[in-house]
């Protein structure tokens, strides 16, 4: 079987071979990602359930483990209702525009030293540019569905995303100054040393601002005024049903995983182990050494911690009022980032050890 596949593969022209390899790599990233998204919804229901002293889903499969599959099947068989007076084409394009960027950004995310689909030198810029396209999904959805609630939700979401993107961008400028590179792999490499070499320490305010802005960017609680059940029913996706609604849902959770991954790469040393810097003998212990050493498992563990924070926020904080969201973004976050960038510039120029003496 394997030989047969190899022989067929070698017949193909070279350009087609590269294409097949790239497509396989994309599938290898997107499939586990989609599985993570499905089980993130399960984790959300279980964790928030536990925090509110409930059980969460228990019926489908052992401990309710098949619940996300059941949800997906249900949504697939539901009718897609297109509202009267809606713009049909844009109505269908909107969810695609919202999930496309959330998946495309994974192309440059390094999972391990060599484990990255496209190792481009402007990786950070690429991620910023691609994720900024995601807002069109929200805008077009609200406008195309010909509904007041959807349009109001869109207005809020668009203003919020555009405002917080500025603070987020400034936080990323700090990372780029500290690491001296736009390549995500090199950003991680610049943090190697030990737990205290990671950029969370010299960039602490930017780290907090980045993560809070990321929560706002993904329209999650406590910044979920775009949905605001009590005011707008469900915000920009009120009119969506069935699979097109599910795609919006997938996009939201895929974005959560993406911004968590970015936070890990830029501030918490990506795949680097927190035990780095221990004597070399520790890492040569048969099984334990491999676990303690750098590797993709640390990247995944750190992402899970951030995802847990997302769920914890949702269970804990009351929703922000709209004008307070705007005030926080423009009058608090942006000035703080600018001041910290100036301080950081001085620190980088002075070669402050242990972070900036190598640059």
């Amino acid at each position: 079987m394997i030989e047969w596949i190899q022989s067929v593969f070698s017949i193909l022209p070279e350009a087609l071979q590269t294409l097949v390899v790239i497509l396989l790599k994309i599938v290898a990233i997107v499939l586990p990602l989609m599985l993570c998204v499905a089980y993130l919804t399960y984790a959300e229901r279980k964790i928030i359930g536990a925090m509110q002293v409930r059980l969460g889903p228990t019926r489908v499969g052992p401990r309710g483990l098949l619940q996300p599959i059941a949800d997906a099947v249900k949504l697939m068989f539901k009718e897609i209702v297109i509202p009267a007076g809606a713009n049909k084409l844009l109505f269908i394009i909107a969810p695609i525009l919202s999930i496309g960027p959330a998946l495309a950004a994974w192309a440059v995310i390094p999972f391990d030293v060599e484990l990255v689909l496209a190792d481009i030198n402007a990786g950070l810029l690429y991620v910023l540019a691609v994720t900024s396209i995601g807002v069109y999904g929200v805008i077009i959805a609200g406008w195309a569905s010909n509904s007041k609630y959807a349009l109001l939700g869109t207005m809020r979401a668009a203003a919020q995303i555009v405002s917080y993107e500025i603070a987020m961008g400034f936080a990323l400028v700090g990372v780029l100054m500290a690491s001296g590179s736009l390549n995500l792999g090199e950003i991680v490499a610049a943090q190697s040393g030990s737990f205290f070499h990671w950029f969370w320490l010299p960039l602490l305010p930017l780290f907090f601002i980045y993560f809070i802005s990321a929560v706002a960017e993904t329209n999650r609680a406590p910044f979920d005024v775009a949905e605001g059940e009590s005011e707008l029913v469900a915000g920009f996706h009120v009119e969506y049903s069935g699979m097109v609604f599910a795609v919006f849902f997938l996009a939201e959770y895929a974005n959560m995983i993406l911004v968590s991954g970015l936070a890990v790469i830029m501030f918490l040393g990506g795949w680097l182990s927190p035990f780095q810097g221990l004597p070399q003998a520790v890492f040569s212990i048969p099984l334990l050494g491999a676990v303690l050493d750098n590797g993709i498992h640390w990247f995944l563990i750190k992402i899970s911690v951030f995802l847990f924070l997302f769920l914890w926020f949702r269970a804990t904080f009351p929703r922000y009022r709209y004008d307070q969201i705007m005030r926080l973004g423009w009058k608090v976050f942006i000035p703080v980032t600018i001041v910290w960038l100036l301080l950081l510039g001085v620190a980088v120029l002075a070669g402050l050890p242990p972070w900036f003496d190598a640059v």
Binding site: A15, A129, I139, I140, E165, Q324
Partner: protein, 201 residues
């Protein structure tokens, strides 16, 4: 070279198609969305020129920020298309005149005798390790540092001017002052009263 040419023609076709739709489509929101498409396809063509930094920044700034605000504003406007079309025929000759004049001017400046392949050679191809961003940064902060700084100051002036234009204080509006809210003490808001229990009637 073959695939590159095909990719170029695909994106060039999208650019021309998008640009035509921007000026011909009736609905302003759709026109703005076609402009987004045009920007995106132009960014792809810039990528073919190995100008990856400029291409990504085009998407980041124009698609991700400027056009979002465009669509945002256009969506809220209730534009009467019929009134906009009034006098279309009456002004058509003048419009054609201006269009022809502009076309002639453009051909004079960017015609084949100035912009042909023999005048401006095809850019040199670089290897995969060539860093476009470093090159731009190097030239922007040395040779062109003053124009760059002046452009930044002009933009700052524009920002301040735009904010001043929208800044109007109406006397009766109420505003939230978070610093005062935080500074509030319990004694200012609540008065504790000590009294004995009243008898039930």
């Amino acid at each position: 070279m073959g695939t590159e040419k095909i990719i170029f023609y695909i994106f060039a076709f999208i650019v021309v198609f998008g640009a035509t739709m921007v000026i011909s489509v009736r609905n302003p929101v759709k026109a703005a969305l076609y402009l987004v498409l045009t920007f995106f396809a132009s960014a792809a063509i810039w990528l073919l020129l190995e100008a990856e930094f400029l291409a990504i920044v085009l998407v980041l700034v124009y698609v991700g920020a400027v056009m979002v605000l465009f669509v945002f504003v256009v969506m809220m406007l209730d534009i009467n298309v019929a009134r906009l079309k009034e006098g279309f025929i009456r002004y058509l000759p003048l419009g054609i005149g201006v269009a022809v004049l502009m076309a002639v001017m453009m051909i004079m400046v960017v015609g084949p005798e100035y912009f042909g392949l023999d005048k401006i050679a095809a850019p040199e191809r670089h290897g995969a390790d060539y860093n476009n961003i470093r090159e731009i940064g190097g030239i922007l902060y040395t040779v062109y540092v003053y124009p760059f700084e002046i452009a930044a100051v002009i933009l700052l002036v524009a920002i301040v001017a735009a904010i001043v234009l929208t800044l109007r204080r109406r006397p009766n509006t109420r505003q939230q002052r978070p610093e005062e809210q935080i500074a509030v003490k319990r004694g200012e808001r609540v008065r504790m009263v000590k009294m004995s229990a009243e008898e039930r009637k």
